[in-house]
């Protein structure tokens, strides 16, 4: 089910599967979304030039219940066409690995690594297949969101169906002025509940040892 992308604030991506973990897909995919662009063609063209991405990230969770945001920090690695390492360093050490279709997730506890069952869920498999599509710049393969390309290097993604919109209101991707770089992602569950992820020290097309996608 392939959607369409149009320019200047019109509909970009169209519908399909709904999945709670699509949110995760969007977060992860956003990190490697090849971003600087004024239109779909530029985005895809930029994506084709990306072999690897390495970045640090700071994640802030804002919730009404929280007296102040919960801050997580970590590292992000991507290697085309579909290898991913999404690693939290604090407050909880965890590593999500994806390589050649195999997905694993580990939690570090008391100096031991525990495999997290959630990575085995069929839903997770679906999500990560979507991520691969995004990594290759095929945003219009994503069935779950309408996307609007705004001025100021921003894309706003809105769920296309009710079951998804029950838990995600919208996603805002801010592109850097540097081609190929995402500056930040905001995932709104409601107006007073959102997750903000900022990327820094982003390095593109630097050599990454494949082993980091294989072993935690």
């Amino acid at each position: 089910m392939v959607g369409c992308i149009e320019m200047s604030g019109k509909k970009v991506i169209q519908a399909g599967k709904t999945n709670i973990l699509s949110v995760l897909a969007v977060v992860l995919a956003s990190c490697v979304l090849i971003g600087w662009a004024d239109n779909r063609e530029q985005i895809i063209k930029a994506a084709e030039k990306i072999e690897t991405i390495r970045a640090d990230f700071v994640q802030e969770k804002h919730l009404k219940i929280l007296t102040h945001p919960l801050v997580s920090r970590g590292h992000f690695y991507y290697q085309a066409p579909g290898s991913l390492r999404w690693e939290y360093a604090s407050p909880i050490q965890s590593i999500l690995l994806m390589h050649k279709g195999r997905i694993r997730r580990y939690i570090k506890r008391d100096d031991r690594l525990i495999e997290d069952a959630s990575a085995r869920l069929p839903a997770m498999q679906v999500v990560l297949r979507e991520i691969i599509s995004w990594l290759n710049g095929r945003f219009d393969d994503n069935p779950d969101f309408d996307a609007v390309l705004m001025t100021g290097r921003k894309i706003v993604l809105t769920p296309t169906n009710q079951s998804l919109s029950k838990f995600i209101q919208r996603i805002e991707l801010m592109f850097s002025d540097r081609p190929g770089i995402i500056e930040s992602v905001r995932i709104y569950e409601s107006e007073d509940s959102f997750t903000k992820i900022e990327f820094n020290d982003v390095k593109i097309n630097k050599e990454i040892d494949t082993s980091i996608f294989l072993e935690p």
């Binding site: 995760l24 909880i92 525990i114 997290d116 997750t195």
Partner: protein, 224 residues
């Protein structure tokens, strides 16, 4: 020789059982005294706790989430949020006088059964047991036991140890159904400066056995 064998079996049994909660309530509370209210481990003011929670499910698989809990002991209210490490809120609910309210729930966290069970577990962990304090005493090792019993016959032992670590054991029909340990056998993660445990081990027994290991990320007093 037969006697040595029996002793060996007995020793092995003792070793294998060491550290495990007893299946039945402690029979003797040792030096029994006039029951007085138990203060440790329950906080008296409003607090917000953030924990990483490693859950071991009945099928043996493990998963990790983040739990945020606001507790208000004077009002006996709870507000709880469960979210993934990525920040996706999968459950938000409150336990108040008028009952349990689910503000947000994504499958499988959206059922009333889940919310009810969660709030029960949180109440056991953070609030003084409901019912009457029926006995208290000191064990041979110096630990103090406070025993509560509610109208439904549920028995709760709150055991505080000399090193300020503590345990809570809940029994139904004299069978252990919940066991909570804070810092027990884990001196490295004992109790922090504010008396809030850095590590809590929560065990649920019965048809759906599960364990939750809670590591404290943040604890903050909440002021009105």
């Amino acid at each position: 020789m037969k006697g040595v064998g029996s002793l060996l079996i007995l020793l092995l049994s003792m070793i294998s059982c060491a550290g495990l909660p007893g299946p039945e309530p402690i029979n003797s509370l040792g030096t029994s005294g006039t029951p007085s209210e138990c203060s440790i481990p329950f906080v008296s003011n409003r607090w917000q706790f953030i924990h990483s929670i490693e859950g071991t499910l009945p099928n043996g698989r493990k998963t990790c989430v983040i739990g945020i809990t606001d507790i208000s002991p004077d009002m006996e209210t709870l507000h709880c949020v469960i979210m993934t490490l990525e920040g996706l809120v999968v459950f938000e609910g409150r336990s108040e006088n008028r009952g349990i309210v689910i503000d947000r729930g994504l499958p499988p966290f959206d059922s009333e059964d889940f919310a009810g069970g969660l709030m029960k577990d949180l109440r056991l962990l953070f609030f003084k047991p409901d019912g009457k304090l029926i006995d208290s005493g000191t064990l041979g090792n110096g630990s103090t036991v406070y025993r509560y019993k509610n109208d439904n016959g549920i028995l709760v032992d709150v055991i505080t140890h000399q090193d300020r670590t503590w345990e809570i054991r809940q029994y139904e029909n004299e069978r252990l159904i919940r066991s909570i340990k804070a810092g027990v056998n884990r001196p490295e993660s004992s109790v922090n400066q504010g008396g809030i445990p850095a590590r809590i081990d929560f065990f649920a027994y019965g048809p759906a056995t599960y364990t939750l290991l809670l590591d404290l990320i943040r604890a903050e007093p909440l002021y009105k």
